[in-house]
Symmetry: C2
Subunit: 354 residues, 2 copies
């Protein structure tokens, strides 16, 4: 049976990417060797790394604008640390919009003073705070563009005279933004870019080298830039599969094209949540995420019936995060519109039945 994979991450990847990745594990570059058993310094893999970097800059429209692209290890959680190690000298401002922001704040606090410019923690993060001030003498301002767990997404980014740092793990490459507004973007690969195991960092080079602490080599963006992400052995398979996904997106027409599809998927999903009297959305309407729609059954007695209908319809990965429960439909780039149609149909069938 065809699966409709709404998993929040690691999440669905395009079938053609999976096919190419699977083939490369057996025979890469028609060289009778697996991608997994060649040197990362061999030309075929160096080419992969360079192509992946170039595709990132092209898709984000950041070519020739002073940005460097890194493919690192350790997930966004390691970036919580690296951002502070590389950029925090005295004080930084953080917007607290969910569990990930909260963790980013906790890690950075080890190194220096952190100021929460605003937080929606008291409302279990069901909205994005607005109208806060960012002091102009801070080292940087940090925010999370999309909150997978709570299903909220920043629609506007603050005007900011200090470096703007954004964790875009769960919505990068999904919508058009003026990416030149950001000085550092990071994203774990496992939503819109590839398999778990690599983390994308896009950094404006001129913000680096300004802190006084001694940064461990592997955590130093400048070292990683000087070594083209190969200070040590990179996660070869994850980088290759990310490159394939970026190529897939480019061939599809880039972010502009995928944004249209993402827009249709999200509208369809939220329209069902709002019109169907059996469900209610979790996030504040104006801040709803186009990647992760979070919703609940109003009457929990229907849970077993709904879950069974979903399972029988091939719906997979729809459970909400354990911290808020309910349901979460993650609609990343690779999720076909058809999958949302199937889910919406099941929700609507439930209404007829109930």
């Amino acid at each position: 049976m065809k699966k409709h994979n709404f998993s929040a991450g690691p999440s669905i990847l395009p079938p053609e990417v999976l096919l190419q990745a699977s083939e490369a594990v057996l025979n890469f570059n028609d060289d009778n060797l697996s991608l997994l058993e060649i040197s990362h310094r061999s030309k075929p893999f160096v080419d992969v790394m360079e192509k992946a970097r170039a595709l990132v800059l092209e898709l984000l429209n950041l070519e020739g604008k002073g940005y460097k692209v890194l493919f690192l290890q350790g997930g966004a959680s390691t970036q919580f640390l690296m951002v502070a190690l590389n950029l925090l000298e005295k004080r930084a401002g953080y917007l607290n919009t969910g569990s990930w922001s909260d963790k980013a704040i906790a890690e950075a606090k080890i190194y220096d003073d952190i100021y929460e410019v605003a937080s929606s923690k008291e409302a279990k993060y069901n909205y994005i705070p607005k109208g806060y001030d960012i002091p102009s003498d801070y080292d940087y301002f940090h925010c999370t563009s999309n909150n997978t767990i709570f299903g909220t997404q920043m629609k506007e980014f603050p005007k900011c005279s200090i470096p703007l740092i954004c964790d875009m793990s769960s919505d990068i490459f999904s919508r058009q933004l003026d990416f030149t507004k950001f000085d550092l973007i990071y994203a774990g690969a496992q939503k819109n870019m590839g398999p778990a195991g690599t983390t994308l960092v896009v950094v404006k080079e001129d913000i680096l080298g300004k802190v006084s602490r001694k940064i461990p080599s592997i955590m130093d963006y400048k070292v990683q830039i000087s070594k083209s992400s190969m200070y040590n052995t990179p996660p070869v398979f994850a980088v290759y599969t990310s490159m394939l996904t970026l190529e897939w997106l480019k061939n599809l027409g880039g972010i502009q094209a995928i944004e249209k599809v993402n827009d249709i998927k999200a509208r369809l999903m939220y329209s069902e949540i709002d019109l169907n009297p059996l469900f209610k959305g979790y996030a504040s309407k104006g801040d709803r995420s186009f990647m992760n729609a979070t919703f609940n059954l109003i009457n929990d007695d229907l849970k077993e019936t709904f879950d069974t209908m979903c399972r029988e319809g091939g719906i997979s990965g729809l459970n909400g995060h354990r911290s808020i429960g309910g349901y979460r439909a993650s609609m990343y780039n690779a999720l076909p519109l058809e999958s949302v149609q199937v889910l919406v149909e099941i929700m609507s069938e439930l209404e007829t039945k109930a």
Copy 2:
């Protein structure tokens, strides 16, 4: 043409492992979903992680002896840092046997005082220092069991009253040792265990929690243990493929069985290096690595001929590391004896020709 893959790392993996890994990228666990697109908290993947952990303890004969197994990201280079962050309070002793030890020392120095108990740097690391003292009031002693670049390997480990920490990246699972002597072992996967992208840590739990510094969560062994290596999303594919390789090794008869094959491969290789007048070995005889044989042509005029013969024989990855040049035959667990036979035959043919 069949390739004989002597790559120093990422390196050869068993064909059956590659086949299973390739299949899992398309359809994992017969569930019509790719291994890359399922939640790392789903039962099928949690089972993989548990199985991988259990196999490590079983193969190293460390079951029920107070050790915990972690699969992390960031390579051994990140462990240089984590070891110091978690264990270094005042002063530690390091044995400097090559580039990796040297880097481990440099990273640890950021955090506290490091004392080199001995070093072979002055001899371009062509031997393993012996007869040094390890002060009993240090926090720990750190060594590198095998030096890929220089082709040396520790045959004995010092008696040590303080925690013994060992980077076994390039020879773990290749030979029988009394692993209970070690308090912490770490190893990047990409030699004997799996693809690049995950790092194995085996740690005796009772050495942890003794430093006064605040350790960043992602760098804290205790946090990683409490979250079963899932503090954040693990490198799913690399962990799965490592589990397959560990399973392959177990089915083969474990370390005891593979050690016999590794012994034959190494003897065959070194005997050709020593008997063939055209070649000379790089490493001091008593310290020769059974994983990486480093050697040079005595007359460099033969280089082109030898390289061509190797290429035509399907030999791949034989170049020495750029820092010492020459040749390096890496003979990791998955390299068949046949490949060494083919290489030795070519070396011997060269002698006939020259």
